[in-house]
Amino acid sequence: MRSLSLLNLLLLLLVAGSLVGCSSKVPPPTQKLSLSEAAINQAEAAGAVEFAPLEMRSSREKLAQAREAMNEEDNQKALKLAEQAEVDAQLAEAKARTAKAQKTVYVLQESIQTLKKEIERKANP
C-alpha cells in the first residue's frame, strides 16, 4: 500500500512535469528588450543603416514584434524575438564595421596611387 502511494506520487509528478515543460511561466523579458534596443543603437552608431540595411530592418521588426508579444503577455515569444533582434543588430554592426574598414582601405590605396603618380610626374616632368 505504501509503495503504491509512492508510485502514484511519482506518476503525478511526471504528468505535472511534462505539463510544466509545455507552458512554463516566463517573466516579462524587459531586460532582454532593453539589451536588444541597446544593440540596435550601437549598430546604428557604427553606420549599420548604411552598410547593413537588411539586418537592421529585420532587427527593428523583431524588436517591435517582441514588444507586441510582451504586451500580449506572450513572454516566451517576446524573449525569443528580443534575442533574435539582438543577434541581428550585432551582425549588422559587425558588417558595418567591416565595410567601413574596407572603404577606408580603398580610400587609402587610392590616395597612395595618387601620391605615387604625383611623385612620378615631378620626377619625370
Binding site: M1, L4, L7, N8, L10, L11, L14, V15, S18, K80, E83, Q84, V87, D88, Q90, L91, A94, K95, R97, T98, A101, Q102, T104, V105, L108, Q109, S111, I112, L115, K116, E118, I119, K122, A123
Partner: protein, 307 residues
C-alpha cells in the same frame, strides 16, 4: 488496492515514461538546425575565422549546442529553430568579426604605406629644393667669382694700359728731349760736326748737354744699349777719315761712360766716308756728313747693324 490495480498503475507509469522517452527517440529533421550546422562547420574550417574570431566562434558553437540538445530532446521545432537561428547569426557575426579584423589590419598597412609614400614625396621635394638651392648658390658664387676676376682683370688691364700709356708718354717726352729721330734701326741722335773741332776728336763742352741727356735716358731704361757710329766727309785720305770717325765715336763713348753709362752697353763703329747722308759736293752737304750718330736700341738691347 488489489494486485491487479497495482499492475495497472505500474503499466500506466511505464507507458507514460516511454511516451516521454519516445519524444527523445528519432527526431524529425530540422532545416534551420541543419543550415546552422552547415554554416558553423564551414566557419570552423575557415582559418580566417578560426584565427581572427575565436570568441565569436565559441559563442556560435554554444548556441548551436543548445539547439542540438533541444533537438535531441525532441523539443518543439520552433524552439530548436530559434536557437538554430541564433547559432546561424552568431556564426555570421564571427565571420564578420574576422573580416573586420583583416580589414582593419589592411587599414593599418595602407596607412603606413601612405605615410611611407608621403615621406618619400617630402624627401624627394626636400632633396630637389636642396639641389636647386645648391645649384643657385654655386651659380651665384661662380658669377661673383667671375665678376671679381673680371673686375680685377679690368683694373689690371686698365692699370697696365694707363701705365703703358704713361710709359709711352714719358718715353716720347724723353725722346723729344733727346731730339732723337725714330728710324728702322731705333732712335737715332745725330751729334753734328759743330761739336768737334775740325780734325780733332775731342768733344766740345757744348756737346755735354746732349751726352748727359742720353746718359739719363740710359739710366731710366737699363735694358737698352747704345751704338755709336762715327762718319766723315769725303775730303782727305780715306784711312785718315776712318781713323777720325773711330776716334770721334770713341770720344762720345768716353763721354757717355764718364756720365755713368756702363761701357759694356756702348758699342762703337767708325765708318769714315761711308754712308753719307748728303752730297759731298757742297760745303753744306759735307758738314752734314761729318757727324756721330748715337743709336738707342729697343728694350731688349738689339740694334740692327749697318750693312
Amino acid at each position: 488496492m488489489n494486485r491487479n490495480n497495482r499492475y495497472v498503475c505500474f503499466f500506466a507509469l511505464v507507458v507514460l515514461t516511454s511516451v516521454l522517452l519516445a519524444g527523445c527517440g528519432p527526431p524529425i529533421k530540422n532545416v534551420d538546425l541543419e543550415k546552422a550546422q552547415a554554416s558553423f562547420a564551414a566557419a570552423k574550417m575557415d582559418p580566417v575565422v578560426v584565427n581572427n574570431a575565436p570568441l565569436g566562434l565559441q559563442t556560435a558553437e554554444s548556441s548551436l549546442q543548445t539547439a542540438e540538445r533541444l533537438w535531441k530532446a525532441d523539443a518543439k521545432p520552433a524552439e530548436v529553430s530559434h536557437h538554430a537561428y541564433l547559432a546561424l547569426q552568431r556564426t555570421a557575426i564571427a565571420r564578420e568579426t574576422a573580416n573586420q579584423k583583416i580589414a582593419e589590419e589592411s587599414v593599418e598597412a595602407a596607412s603606413s604605406a601612405r605615410a611611407r609614400v608621403l615621406l618619400e614625396a617630402r624627401t624627394y621635394e626636400a632633396d630637389e629644393a636642396t639641389k636647386s638651392a645648391e645649384l643657385a648658390r654655386r651659380q651665384a658664387q661662380e658669377q661673383s667669382t667671375l665678376l671679381a676676376v673680371k673686375t680685377i682683370e679690368g683694373q689690371q688691364s686698365a692699370e697696365a694700359a694707363s701705365a703703358a700709356e704713361a710709359r709711352a708718354k714719358q718715353l716720347e717726352a724723353e725722346v723729344a728731349e733727346l731730339q732723337a729721330i725714330k728710324s728702322e734701326r731705333g732712335l737715332v741722335i745725330t751729334l753734328g760736326d759743330v761739336l768737334f773741332d775740325t780734325g780733332q776728336a775731342e768733344l766740345k763742352g757744348s756737346a755735354m748737354v746732349t751726352i748727359s741727356k742720353i746718359a739719363n735716358f740710359m739710366r731710366t731704361y737699363p735694358t737698352r744699349t747704345l751704338l755709336v757710329e762715327g762718319f766723315t766727309d769725303s775730303r782727305g785720305a780715306e784711312a785718315y777719315n776712318l781713323d777720325l770717325s773711330q776716334l770721334r765715336a770713341n770720344a762720345v763713348r768716353s763721354a757717355l761712360t764718364a756720365s755713368g753709362v756702363e761701357a759694356a752697353r756702348v758699342a762703337v763703329r767708325g765708318y769714315g766716308e761711308s754712308y753719307p747722308v748728303a752730297s759731298n759736293e757742297t760745303p753744306v752737304g759735307q758738314q752734314l756728313n761729318r757727324r756721330v750718330e748715337v743709336i738707342i736700341s729697343d728694350e731688349e738691347g738689339h740694334i740692327v747693324e749697318r750693312r
